[in-house]
Assembly symmetry: C2
Homo-oligomer: 192 residues x 2
């Protein structure tokens, strides 16, 4: 995940570790502050693999700053990691966030596929939460689970918005080719 994030950020412009860390906490909306204990080793690993390389600015004399630039191999790695079907929609929530942050590099249909898988995952989580609700006898765990339910519902609503927008964009593009087809009725087909 970290490798994907680093490569994705370095695609935009070359940076050093400290900057990467800041940009990362920014684009991830405050969740997941990367630890330097993972960032710097990861950066070195990527350099060893030839995915990134150091940029030596002649201007900079005094202060030590390890500025990295993404290589061709790094670009390829980035594509592979981004496309990879892995446990991205599933599993830890930040996994999905990182992928979403680099959605612009993904093909529209891949985007929709990923969003839908994420939604399916969250709907499963929602079902599990709802099922576990009546078993909560403790005030605090009850509140915790209820709040979790609401948050999950809002996450799903947000995803629905993203999916709809993505479809609209696709439709407009294809619509330019094949005129009429203002159909928006989509089949929900919940696998329950």
């Amino acid at each position: 995940m970290l490798e994907l994030a680093i490569l994705g950020l370095l695609k935009e412009r070359s940076m050093h570790g400290y900057q990467l860390s800041k940009r990362l906490t920014d684009t991830l909306g405050g969740f997941w502050r990367v630890s330097y204990g993972s960032l710097y080793p990861s950066l070195k690993r990527l350099e060893r693999q030839g995915a990134v390389e150091q940029v030596f600015d002649v201007q900079e004399v005094g202060r030590r700053k390890n500025v990295y630039r993404i290589t061709q191999l790094g670009e390829t790695m980035f594509r592979r990691l981004l496309e990879e079907a892995g446990s991205d929609a599933t599993g830890e929530d930040n996994r999905f966030r990182v992928r979403l942050a680099f959605f612009k590099y993904l093909a529209p249909d891949s985007r929709i596929r990923l969003l839908e898988r994420r939604r399916a995952f969250l709907e499963e989580r929602l079902d599990a939460i709802t099922a576990s609700l009546p078993t909560q006898r403790d005030t605090y765990t009850l509140s915790l689970v209820q709040h979790g339910r609401e948050t999950t519902e809002q996450d799903i609503a947000w995803l629905n918005g993203l999916i709809a927008a993505e479809r609209r964009a696709t439709e407009t593009t294809t619509g330019r080719t094949k005129r009429r087809s203002t159909r928006t009725a989509r089949r929900k087909e919940r696998t329950t």
Copy 2:
């Protein structure tokens, strides 16, 4: 974190690993499904430390099931871990969820203190998010960050509810003992 969770669950009743895993995903509202790759080693570690011990049920003959019971030492450890001011309100979100799940074992004033620290942390996060909003030029990261902002706001509102409820409970209790003293003015005294 896992140790705290295990001990807290074993306080209610003795269980084996598989049961612990299920109960944990339940009480945590679907976030954080513990991996067996951390659960079983953790259980062994706790046994080695004398915090838990195996229960041998004579009835059970066939199937191997390692049922664990919390010991006196384990109870002490649980107290320590729960009380511990560590990076609980701060840092990873599940840390806080686990603590909240065992709030009933915490003194009311400790509860309020923890909730307020959590709120302060989330407010800082909210500020950071708001500050980073105008820098987002990408549609997707913008949406991501905006959604993060809303989620954080709702988290804070939820915390406010919990804090209010906690205060109401405290007030009623102390009111019964020492009549007047509707003092609610709290000194924030941020240790910055």
